[in-house]
Subunit: 465 residues, 2 copies
């Protein structure tokens, strides 16, 4: 065992030596830099890589991967470090490839409603670039994540209920495979029946099959009218049932987000809002002025039926932005409401028909176990999160938090749902994959072994090989 | 070589003997039955399997696959035989699994807008079943194909411009893998970030990685208003440019289909229509009465700009059905217009900005080569087809037809398009995959080898292994 470790250490040193020659100042082995690249907005223990390389092109990423492949040294891609399940940790050490320097917008084909970008471009920057062309990229996980990272974790967020997730909004990818080869997974044609769908294989593979270096994304026209608002409800159940009915009625809401009263209180404090502290839906409608108004009116009628209202409009852009900023700062609001505690954020997703039941049971579970765990979610997709706030020095609270998250996942699975709607597997959800996928997990492992036989790509994530 | 063949024959006989005992009358080795299962609406030579088994459940499919796997005998799934690129041929013989008996609709979850069905259910039957619930499944490749086959070939068709292809409309699959194991590729949650996307790996894999036996499909509410019509154009280029502008304007057309004047003439004759024999768009709009009318009005203005019009409505349901039936009978109309000739149907797909250029060059190519090759297509997606009508006894015409198809594919690839938008690779497009996918083809092969090491699943399709 000791000799294996020594061998690994020598392999890593060899690769670092090689890459240092090649990348000079763009390779760092400093402690703080390494720690920063293992750290994410997560409760998982920081496991830093041995070195960080700042790549500037697909070819450079390929060079790094080839060096790692030759020495069987792990290689981990890093976007902005906003993943929640330990995706960028380096449990076996290795080389972290920081993609933030790959931030060029390579082409915008407005006539085809697509664009090609490097993987380090963040979603806010892309949308700033697109705004003047009347276009936008809808996927919005809250954090200003890199689009490469969003693809790798199959991210989604608030707009997914209308526009789909990263899965539905990528035309093709460029990726560096574990052998250092550069692969383009498709063309710019809107559809294709030509061979296996490598695009979707890489989306959600969390860097375990290859490093995404470029993306061609589908774009959308900025809607003529965007209207937002909040709608308080008497009960959490009423809010959930209003969501279910809204979706079943086919109202094409652009966003329909739930906060329980605990979360509203935290957001009021953190984001200086004056919302009524009761279960609340945040909504947005896109369309022509007439159709957006029609959608809002139809929703208002449904809300009333379930004890909701009044539905208050944010007429001005700045009010709308304030609302959505508050929603996006959910993580920080929870942290601020429980100083000194660590957030255990988890997400599940169930068929929409089971949403109310799943949320209500989870809420009961939180209360019965004396935990502070605000609930928030992209409920139009049946997807919701809790942030269980834990004092890591309180062993009893820690145990209760871990058990709560475990029951929440099992509850979702028992309802035909998934152990993660959008945060990915990383290290945190690995243990649930056998229950969720059964034999399918063997197929995933077979693919992993075929493409990455030495398991150098982000090892210890999704499954241990 | 001779002994290898003898060994294979003995392996096949062994499997047939075993399966005959198990399936009795539900296994057939009759010549006509075998031929029918190699035959498709295709120009590819019929290569019948050695036997056909009529399966009635996922477990039965698994039994057949296990028997074939043990003897390394090919196994080919058969839906309705409407594929166009030789997908159901059996170039190495083997056992064909006819899925038509697996035609149960297992569950409709109207509250979640999804349903679970067996793979042999056809799209028309499913929609008849759903109609009373106010729901429909939008993917419509024209033929009344089985949904398992449609998933396997990543089919799309007339509605894809609005609702996406099979890729976008499947929640999860049940499949029998090459080792006989039954795999469920996902849950009923609308989204998930849990592990590799096996659903999308199987969609479009054309039976080379597993046999799809059950599907959970996304459903849509039947739109309140459906309006259809036809719009003649002075020129083919004008029609294409009207399509491009319509899509770029974000008008959410449900269908926007092109027929060139040659095709309109054929359809007039076959379907007893009286359309003006000029390049024509077939359109459909879905929405509320107001929004459908608004869409149609906006389209009308665009059409006029490009020398199109008048846009004629099919107000009555029966007129609408007559139009779309004519569109769907495209293949038969072409055949009837060229008696005694064989249709070489091919499809390509390009970025919408290149559509007019690609269609015009193809049209010129057809004319210059003195071929009868009506053009028709799902042009809103940049996807179009030609049916080159060939007298197989005319070696010169045959050579000109093959060369035309080849140039058409290469033209699409050169424009950033794909060698097939929706018909799949089968046997006909194999030779273009290296150009289209480069290194990606090696990744596909690695996946194929990992999942189907003995290459028993529909061998000789997509790539030769």
């Amino acid at each position: 065992m000791a000799s294996v470790q020594a061998e690994q250490e020598s392999a890593v040193s060899g690769v670092i030596g090689l890459l240092k020659q090649r990348f000079g100042e763009r390779l760092s082995t400093s402690g703080p830099i390494r720690e920063q690249h293992g750290h994410t907005t997560t409760w998982h223990k920081n496991e830093p890589p041995d070195a960080v390389v700042y790549a500037q092109s697909t070819d450079e990423v390929a060079e790094v991967v080839r060096a790692c492949a030759a020495a069987k040294v792990p290689v981990i891609a890093f976007g902005t470090g906003t993943s929640l399940e330990g995706q960028v940790n380096a449990p076996r050490g290795g080389i972290c490839v920081d993609m933030s320097g790959m931030d060029r917008i390579l082409a915008v084909h407005s006539e085809d409603l697509d664009c090609t970008i490097e993987a380090g471009v963040t979603r806010i920057r892309l949308n700033e670039h697109l705004r003047d062309m009347g276009l936008f990229f809808p996927i919005d996980p809250g954090a200003d994540a890199s689009l490469g990272g969003m693809a790798a974790t199959r991210a989604s967020g608030t707009n997914a209920v209308r526009y789909g997730t990263m899965r539905e909004n990528i035309l093709n990818l460029t990726a560096v495979m574990p052998n250092g080869e550069i692969v383009h997974t498709g063309r710019r044609a809107k559809k294709s029946s030509s061979g296996y769908d490598l695009t979707h294989l890489l989306v959600g593979s969390e860097g375990t099959l290859g490093i995404i270096t470029e993306l061609t994304l589908k774009l959308h026209g900025i809607p003529e009218a965007i209207t937002s608002g909040v709608c308080p409800f008497e009960t959490l159940e009423g809010a959930c049932n209003a969501v279910i009915t809204t979706i079943q009625s086919g109202i094409p809401v652009a966003r329909i987000e739930l906060m329980d009263e605990v979360h509203v209180r935290a957001s009021n404090a953190y984001s200086k809002l004056t919302l009524k502290e009761t279960p609340t839906l945040f909504l947005e409608f896109h369309g022509t002025p007439a159709s957006a108004a029609e959608q809002a009116e139809n929703f208002g009628a449904i809300a009333e039926e379930f004890g909701g209202g009044p539905f208050e409009w944010a007429e001005r852009t700045e009010d709308r932005n304030k609302l959505w900023t508050a929603r996006h700062n959910s993580y920080f609001a929870c942290c601020a409401a429980a100083p000194g505690k660590q957030a255990f954020v988890t997400d599940v997703c169930v068929p929409i028909s089971r949403l109310a039941e799943c949320v209500m049971e989870t809420k009961r579970d939180v209360d019965e176990n004396r935990l502070f765990a605000p609930i928030v979610g992209h409920v139009g997709d049946g997807n919701f999160h809790t942030a269980v706030m834990v004092d890591l020095d309180d062993a009893d609270e820690l145990a209760r938090a871990i058990a709560l998250v475990d029951r929440m996942v099992k509850r979702a699975l028992a309802m035909g749902g998934t152990c993660t709607g959008e945060h990915g597997v990383g290290q945190g959800k690995m243990k649930y994959l056998k229950t969720e996928h059964g034999n399918g997990l063997d197929v995933m492992r077979a693919i992993k072994r075929a493409i990455d036989p030495d398991s150098i790509m982000n090892p210890g994530k999704i499954f241990s090989m």
